[in-house]
């Protein structure tokens, strides 16, 4: 356990949301659940609120919210939506 927590996360995820909009709230909940439900996968989740940092959308090429981006391991994978379809998400993230 201790080894896992100090080792580099195997999967870096960034979730772009827009404040407390229904989709954003749901996405945060779903993402957190996926990460918590798969501790072995070693997910690390970062949340970026585009309402607070609007220019990040431009910089990072985010069009719709919520958007989940798997930054690592490559290749970069984008998933749009509130992540309610868990199977779809895992499938997209699962190729590693």
């Amino acid at each position: 356990m201790r080894e896992r927590s100090t080792s580099l996360p195997r999967c870096v995820l960034r979730l772009y949301v827009a404040g407390n909009s229904p989709n954003s709230v749901r996405a945060i909940a779903n993402a957190t659940a996926i990460c918590a439900g798969n501790p072995d996968a070693g997910y690390r989740l970062e949340i970026v609120d585009l309402l607070k940092f609007p220019k990040r959308a431009l910089a990072d090429g985010v069009i719709v919210t919520p958007t989940l981006v798997k930054l690592r391991p490559l290749p970069v994978q984008r998933i749009v939506g509130n992540l309610s379809d868990t199977a779809e998400v895992l499938l997209a993230l699962g190729d590693q």
């Binding site: 827009a18 954003s24 585009l50 609007p54 959308a57 985010v62 069009i63 919210t65 998933i79 939506g81």
Partner: protein, 582 residues
């Protein structure tokens, strides 16, 4: 039709697209969303982009362009055909956002545009933008695959546009299939809907625009033809609702002196003339002399020809003594030759209007105008010729048009109505007679002029064009050699008559002289008789005076008193007592 001033309810913002601001009496509704719908390639992006570009150029307004379908590079490349310097605009006045989703993106659950709209708001405030375009949202919303969600997102965009105080355009592709029916709701959500259409009929492309809805404002509801020209999209000139143009009594020469005389001076300035006739009837020659006459007066002239090159026309006219070369050189005359096949009729007329705008002629020739009207029949172009002629009339340009017509009333003439709207209509036909073919010219009509309705013979020579009298003998019209023969005969006849008259005159003069002489003789006789009578009277008077005197003396001698009278001897007593004394 109400004027634009009477609708303060909706403030408008111009698009700068020629014709569109006119039919909407001001442009797009300010501060709200307009939906532009149309099939693929119908020009939605062009319309939206052009309005931003125009605003940037004319009012230095900043705008946002959010592209959901095409890349920035693609859009800029497409725009270069219109001569818009999009690249430099993008740096300063036009903010371009590439909002395409990667094809590899995975969808899981519902999403929305909240984040991007937030960013756009920041950008709009930064630039002080007044306008925004969302181009191709159907691409994005289709991904939602949920009609309710799609509707919600469009509401979101629409509300965002209003709150931001921007004037927005949403473009959206519509197809034929019924799956696109779900986008019907969009029309009800926005204040203004513009529909663009594009169809290909017999190989020629026809584009049109229709304002389907405009809340709170009058607008022209017709489906109108549009062209994608060199400067972008424009509605083809509709012409004004009211035909108002100045009318003048000034006459200009037709190029043929005799024809001017028949028309009591020439063509009225600013009117249009139709010269019709079968091929080879010298219609182009009449155009040529008209042009030469105009150039001689120093007036700029535009000669538009179809399917015959300028050089050929110039050469042909030389043979009748008409020389265009000096006028072409000085720039007074511009010749524009093009083909009838090719661009559709609306584009053709747009081209001509452009030529007119560039050259600013006072006189113009379109040879033949029927080349345009015989092109593909399409409801949109049925009145294109008429609109063009209206345009010229308002500009005060005198135009001579030719038309290929064999008879005076053919379907072609009635179909285009050119002959109806022509102010002056001259028809040239062939008359074949005695093995000769001659040209006959008639003035079919000349508005505002009491014209001669006599047929004249059109004579071409290397000295120019002239009209000769036509002889009617025994009910036949004679031209050419027959005319010449008759002319000679009549000349001889006239000479003979002249001689006969002279003879008669001298005869009459002679008898008159005789009569005068006789009169004098008689008068002399009368005078003589009168003298005689006078003499007689004098003598008689003198005689009676003597007799009276004698009587008085006699009485005195006889000492007779007053009452006595001389009694003559009984045998000579007069019957009546006419003696004065009693």
């Amino acid at each position: 039709m109400e004027t634009r001033a009477s609708h303060p309810a909706v403030t408008k913002i111009p698009t700068g697209i020629e014709g569109f601001d006119e039919i909407t009496y001001g442009g797009l509704p300010r501060g709200v969303t307009t939906l532009v719908m149309g099939g693929a390639g119908s020009g939605k992006t062009v319309f939206a982009l052009q309005s931003l570009v125009n605003a940037a150029h004319s009012s230095r307004e900043a705008g946002l362009f959010v592209a959901f379908e095409e890349s920035q590079r693609q859009i800029i490349a497409n725009a270069t055909t219109f001569g818009w310097d999009l690249a430099s605009l993008v740096k300063k006045k036009l903010y371009f956002l590439d909002a395409r989703l990667s094809p590899e993106v995975v969808k899981s659950g519902d999403f929305d545009l909240t984040g991007i709209l937030n960013l756009l708001r920041v950008k709009a405030d930064e630039l002080g933008a007044k306008r925004v375009v969302f181009d191709g949202i159907d691409v994005l919303l289709g991904l939602l695959d949920d009609p309710v969600a799609e509707r919600r997102e469009v509401y979101r965009i629409r509300d965002w546009i209003s709150e931001a105080g921007l004037t927005g355009i949403i473009t959206q592709k519509v197809g034929e299939s019924s799956s696109d029916r779900r986008f019907d709701f969009l029309q009800f959500m926005v204040d203004c809907v513009v529909i663009l259409g594009h169809e290909v009929v017999e190989g020629t492309s026809f584009r049109n625009l229709r304002v389907m809805k405009y809340r709170g404002s009058p607008f022209v509801e017709d489906e109108l033809p549009i062209t994608l020209g060199r400067d972008g999209m424009q509605l083809t000139h509709r012409g004004p609702t009211e035909l108002k143009y100045a009318v003048t009594n000034e006459r200009i020469s037709s190029g043929v002196a005799r024809l001017d005389a028949m028309l009591r001076g020439g063509y009225y300035r600013g009117t249009n003339v139709l010269i019709s006739g079968a091929p080879g009837t010298a219609k182009s020659t009449l155009c040529g002399v008209f042009t030469a006459a105009a150039c001689k007066r120093g007036e700029r002239t535009l000669y538009v020809s179809f399917d015959e090159g300028a050089a050929q026309i110039v050469r042909n006219l030389r043979s009748v003594g008409v020389h265009f070369a000096p006028y072409l050189k000085s720039g007074l005359l511009r010749m524009y030759s093009t083909r009838t096949r090719g661009p559709n009729i609306e584009d053709q007329f747009a081209n001509l209007r452009k030529q007119v705008a560039e050259h600013r002629p006072r006189c113009m020739v379109v040879d033949p105008l029927s080349a345009l009207s015989s092109a593909v029949a399409h409801p949109a172009s049925a009145d294109a010729a008429q609109r063009f002629l209206d345009f010229l009339k308002i500009e005060g340009i005198t135009v001579v048009n030719t038309s290929l017509m064999d008879g005076l009333s053919t379907d072609e003439a009635t179909a285009t109505g050119i002959s109806t709207i022509a102010d002056t209509w001259i028809h040239v036909s062939y008359v074949v007679q005695d093995g000769e073919r001659n040209r006959a010219l008639t003035i079919v009509k000349a508005r505002g002029t009491g014209h001669s309705n006599q047929v004249r013979e059109l004579v071409l020579s290397n000295a120019g064009v002239d009209l000769a009298d036509v002889y009617t003998a025994q009910g036949r019209v004679l031209m050419g050699v027959a005319r010449w023969e008759l002319e000679q005969k009549e000349l001889a006849e006239a000479a003979r008559f002249e001689v006969a008259t002279r003879l008669k005159r001298s005869q009459l003069q002679l008898s008159q002289a005789e009569a005068v002489a006789r009169l004098r003789v008689v008068q002399a006789e009368i005078a003589a008789r009168e003298a005689e009578i006078a003499t007689l009277a004098d003598a008689a008077g003198a005689a009676s005076t003597v007799i009276d005197a004698d009587r008085t003396v006699l009485l005195k001698m006889r000492h007779a008193d007053k009452t006595s009278r001389t009694v003559p001897p009984p045998d000579i007593r007069p019957k009546n007592h006419s003696n004065g004394a009693h």
